[in-house]
Each structure stands twice: as C-alpha cells, then as structure tokens.
Symmetry: C2
Subunit: 379 residues, 2 copies
C-alpha cells in the first residue's frame, strides 16, 4: 500500500476565505478587505535604518531576540515584567504558533472565539490540539462575557484564546469582564493567550488587558498594526518565564531568530522615536473611521457594530440575506457586480454569518467609493 506522503495535520487546512477573495479580486476593485493599514512604515524608522545599517552586525541575534529589544518591550508593556519574560518572534502569528506548539498535546482543547481570526482554528489543529469555540454575542455588541468562557471550559481545556480589540468585530472587552475571567482562570490549569495586536488602535477608552490580573497569561503583540510594519515580521510574546524559556528553545529550532534588521527597527520604534508619525497615523485612522461611519449612516440603512478598536467595520446584513446563499455568496456578488472587496463574516466562523467585514484602514477615497458601491448593491 502506498503511504500517504503528506502529514494528516495538514488535512482540511485551506487558504483562508480572506486570501481566496483577494485572489479573485483584480486591481480595478475597491479593496475594503485589507488587514493592514495603507500607511507607509514611519520614515523616521527608515531613516534610522539607512543611517545605521552599515554599522550593525547583521549576523544571528540571540534566539530570544536582542536583549535591548526585550528590555524595551518589557518596559513598554505596562506590565510588571522583566526582559526575561519576553520572546521576540517572526510577527504575532509565529508568537501564537510557538505558544501552541510548546503547550499542546493531542486531546488538549483550545477555546477560541466565534467569530474570530480564522488562523486560530487552523493553528490549533496544526499544533495537534482540538479547537472549541465560545460565542461572542450580538446582543453584547460582540464584547466578551466571561460566563461564555467559564461554561466552555472542560477538563481538556489547555488554552483559552481571547482577542481585544477584536478582529473582526472591532469590539473592545471591558475591564470588568476581563477581571472576572481572570478570577475564574486563576484557579484553572489553563493558559490564557491574549492577542493584543490592535491594542493601540482604539477610539474610546484605552483597551484593558487581562494580563495584570492573571499569572498564567501570555500577551501577544507586534509592530505590524501599530507602526504599519506588517512585512517586517516582528512580534513578541510576554509571559511566565518557564513558558518563555520553552518558546526560546522552540524558536531556536523553528526560525533561529526574528529578522535582525526588523529587530533594530523595533528597538527604535518602541523607544518612541517614531511616535510622531505613529500618532499622526492613529489620528488619521480616527478620521477614516468618522468617514466610514458618516458614509454608512448617510448612504445606507445598514446596521453595524460601532468600532471601538481595530480598523474594521462589522456590518450587519442579516436582514439582507434572503437573496443570497450566505455572506460568502453575498461577498462574491459584491465583488463581481460592484468590484468591491469585503470579507464575509463566515470567514471568521459560523458566529460571523450574516455580517460583512469592511476595513477603514483603506485610503478615504476608497472608503467612500466602497460604501457608495455597498449602498448601490443593496438598493
């Protein structure tokens, strides 16, 4: 009998719907599907690099990242942690992957949000665990209620994944609920992963983190969204020393270290030396959000979740579904009929069905034209 030449762990792992829809789009489309800001990397960072790269040692860094970078990450975290509790990674994605790889055994369950970032489910599977979903509810504007996690925990639960500010719903979880969650979790032998990559992108109160209230918590963050540096692949996680030490061993084997030029850029950025442009970009995101909300309100009668963080508008199309075979079908028709790229809510799980994710990280003319097309589509 011929052996299967590929690993079972990859069975059923497909390109995300986000990727599939972008693959179908052509350059003439208005793209409100993007998961990254349209801003350039701050020029202060580029100038720093141009000025200094000849003097840098561009060989391997320590597996955990440069000590100076770990230091400044710890200082910036707002947490009472040392640099020994930081592991630098190839973006937030590799941070998440590493944590799952060093914690999960077959049979272990990971609680993930529904709707939620689609990579969560696939990464849990690849790392050998079993994904289990907990609901985020429309009646709470998709914000977390700790009871929904408490109810979902079983003796098999090894990891709970939370994400605030949330992709795709743009919800920001309340400090009160996070504290209650921490209170329950503190007595469980469970890791809580707090994906905080959108933490600096908020429009009302500053997002709270569960980390200060919980000892077995790992915080994930990156340069990508805050500094418009997605392609630089620099992320990190902060957690208990025993977990971090194991992650460093894993990283040594999987990637050796995060890219050194990006680490140098990270030191500069996290010291606040590119904050002027960062702040300008954040202000511009505020304006784009206003533009998006104004266009939605003026030109459509669609309901949406008021974005409290991230750069997403989670649009409620539940009462427009009758002509469509679901949000994916609706998206594909928006793409073919209106040349508008949006992401179907179902890309984020069944809990996202009946919604479309629009990004207001796109340039304002695209936001306006995109929502104009959306409005025309539903006329």
């Amino acid at each position: 009998m011929k052996k299967n030449l590929f690993s079972q762990r990859m069975e059923g792992i497909e390109k995300t719907l986000i990727r599939e829809i972008h693959d179908k789009a052509d350059p003439s489309c208005v793209d409100l599907g993007l998961g990254q800001p349209s801003f350039s990397t701050p020029s202060a960072i580029l100038n720093h690099l141009k000025k200094n790269i000849n003097d840098w040692n561009l060989g391997y860094s320590p597996n955990a990242g440069f000590p100076e970078l770990r230091e400044v990450i710890a200082e910036n975290s707002g947490l009472d942690v040392s640099s020994e509790q930081v592991c630098v990674t190839v973006g937030a994605e590799e941070a998440l992957f590493s944590i799952l790889m060093v914690t999960l055994d077959p049979g272990d369950e990971v609680l993930i949000p529904d709707p939620g970032f689609p990579a969560y489910e696939s990464l849990v599977k690849i790392a050998g665990g079993t994904p289990r979903k907990y609901p985020l509810r429309r009646e709470n504007n998709f914000s977390l209620t700790h009871e929904d996690i408490v109810k979902a925990v079983t003796p098999e639960t090894k990891v709970v994944l939370i994400n605030s500010p949330n992709n795709p719903t743009a919800a920001v979880y309340s400090q009160q609920e996070l504290k209650k969650l921490a209170g329950f979790m503190e007595d469980q032998d469970v890791w809580v992963i707090s994906d905080e990559v959108y933490r600096e992108l908020y429009y009302e109160e500053k997002p709270a983190s569960v980390a200060p209230y919980l000892s077995r918590c790992v915080v994930i963050n990156s340069l990508s969204k805050t500094f418009s540096m997605t392609g630089w692949r620099l992320g990190w996680c902060i957690g208990p020393s025993d977990l971090i030490q194991l992650m460093v061993k894993f990283n040594q084997l999987a990637v050796i270290c995060a890219p050194v030029v990006s680490q140098k850029a990270g030191i500069f950025a996290l010291k606040g030396l590119a904050d002027k442009e960062k702040e300008e970009n954040l202000k511009e995101l505020h304006r784009r959000r206003e533009t998006a909300l104004r266009c939605m309100d003026e030109w459509t009668d669609l309901d949406y979740i008021t974005p409290r963080g991230t750069f997403y508008l989670f649009v409620d199309v539940r009462d427009r579904m009758e002509k469509y075979g679901g949000s994916l079908d609706m998206c594909l028709k928006l793409l073919s009929e209106e040349k508008l790229v949006t992401i179907p809510g179902v890309a984020f799980g069944r809990g996202g069905e009946g919604y479309l994710r629009l990004s207001f990280a796109a340039p304002p003319p695209s936001i306006e034209e995109g929502i104009r097309r959306l409005s025309r589509f539903f006329k």
Copy 2:
C-alpha cells in the same frame, strides 16, 4: 491531578551544545566555534536597500514570497523547475521545519546523518516524527555511501535527510553516490531533503546535488552562508508542486511570509548584483582555509578531514581522548585553560565523538591564535 502545562513534544529538547558552549565563553576567548562567516553583508546589498527602501511597499508579501524572488531562485537553482516550485521561508531552518511539519505523522521515521547538524534530530521530534541515524564513516572521510542509507530504510521511513557540503565534517558527497542514492530512492515513497546551504562554499570540484536525479526531492538553501546574511532570515526550498503548495499553506499560518526587506535584498543578491563581494569573500575563505591547514600542519600533529566545502575543519582527536571524558569535556577544558572556543564532535551525534569542529570563517588572526592555543593544549 494537575495537568502538565507544557507539550510533550518539547520534552528533552534542550539548547544545542553549540549554544551552551558559546554561553560559557567570554569576549576574551578566541572563537573558532562560529557557524557564520565574519564578513559583513555585501555593501552593494546595503546600498540597494538604502537607495530604494522608501519606494518599497513594506506590507505583507504573498505567503510563498514575491513572484520575482521565486522566479530568480528557480533560475539560479540549476534545476529544471518553475517559480511555482519555490517557497520562500524564514531562513533554511524554517524551510526544513515546514517540510517536516507538512510530511510527518506519528510513527514516521526520518533518516538523518550521524554526525550531523544537531537541529535535524530536534526538528524531527518536534514535528512528531522519529529520528533514525545513518552513519557517515571516517574511512570514507565522512562522505556518503548510498548503501548506508539503503540499509537504514524501513517501511516507516518517510523522509531521508542529506547534507552536502556537510556540517560538521566539511565533506562533499560524490555525484556517483548521489546518483546511486537517487536510483534507489526513486522507487520508494520517501521524500529526500537535500540541505545545500553550503553549496557555494567549496574548494575542489563544484558540489553535486541529488535533485536532478530524483522526482521526490526537496532542496533547501538560503542567503545566510553564501552572502553572509544569517540575521536576515531568508531561505527557500524547491520541490514538487504538491509539496510546495502545502508548505505555502503552512507558512501562511506559521509566519505569514518571510521578512519583506530581506526578500528585496534576496532579489538583488540572486540577480548577481552583489557577486563581486560574494566572490571576494569566497576567495578570502579559500585563503583562510589555507591558513588553517598550514597552521594545523606546522604547529600540531593532529589529523583532520581536509575540508572540501563549508568553512569547518573537523579535527580528529581520537588518540588524545584518554585524559578526557569525551569531546565535550575536552572542549570545556580548551575553553577554560586556553580560552579557545571549539565545538565538540559529540554535539553532532555519537558519530562525531572523538572530533572537534573548528571554524575557519573566523578572521585570520583568530584562526592562527586559535590553532596556536590548540597546539599548546595538546603539548
């Protein structure tokens, strides 16, 4: 009962001896333990970056890497392959890790060389497979004899890993043996991974590859050793389309994409635009090799494997072992008594016991002083 909070797959995974010895060394030591050349990244690459980085889109690249980079990798490979058969990775290490992750299931065996690069064994374990060693033999100057692999193949063998030019032995495998290996492997349902990261570092005939003779072969390479760009983390693999497609899916999840600035540098380098410095560095490596061999011959009566590739000198100390508890003990004494960093052969498996690996990628004064200390140590 309290759950084990960490994954079993990380049990027994420790820092490599290479890393441990470097951790014990202080800056006053002469370091012949290095796995990277002392050269800087070619200035042509740095200038290209400084000149153009403001014009580049530094957002995510496609998961498989920029099409232009995949194209130039395919063209440079010397193989009859298309760019669709290339996946760009975060260095050669992540290429190897990805291949193992998308091919291995529990129970699958991977044949790895003994002595061999220590990460092979750990990566196979982390990816859920079982490492099995095949011998490289002193009587063949550690070059491959295909029979040793043929004999080691079992129905459980899923992957065979070969590495020429070889770390740590500096052997280069003969085309004849590689052809014979391919002839046998072609009838097996087995992947052959050919780790060719030292392929351009050779001192006699150009190294052959098994890839042209074998359909189920994956070649791994990177910018690291050839262009002195270890910290840039840019590697790739070339293989059958079905495997590459699966790796691209894996990469999307594990790292999203290789760092974009490094990919841009890679396009420039692989187009030959930094070849002047590359050639100068390769010539300098030839000179350093001559220096190392001359010092060994003049100052010591130690035997060694004449390096045909890489930048390592595999020194035979089997007849000096009586005073020591093994090559590790010898290394630690060299470190404490002579302030000389070398790597014990046992770091590469039991087949390396009785040897020391010295690197001649170090600057010539270090090579000379290092071998002087080695000679004094054995007086």
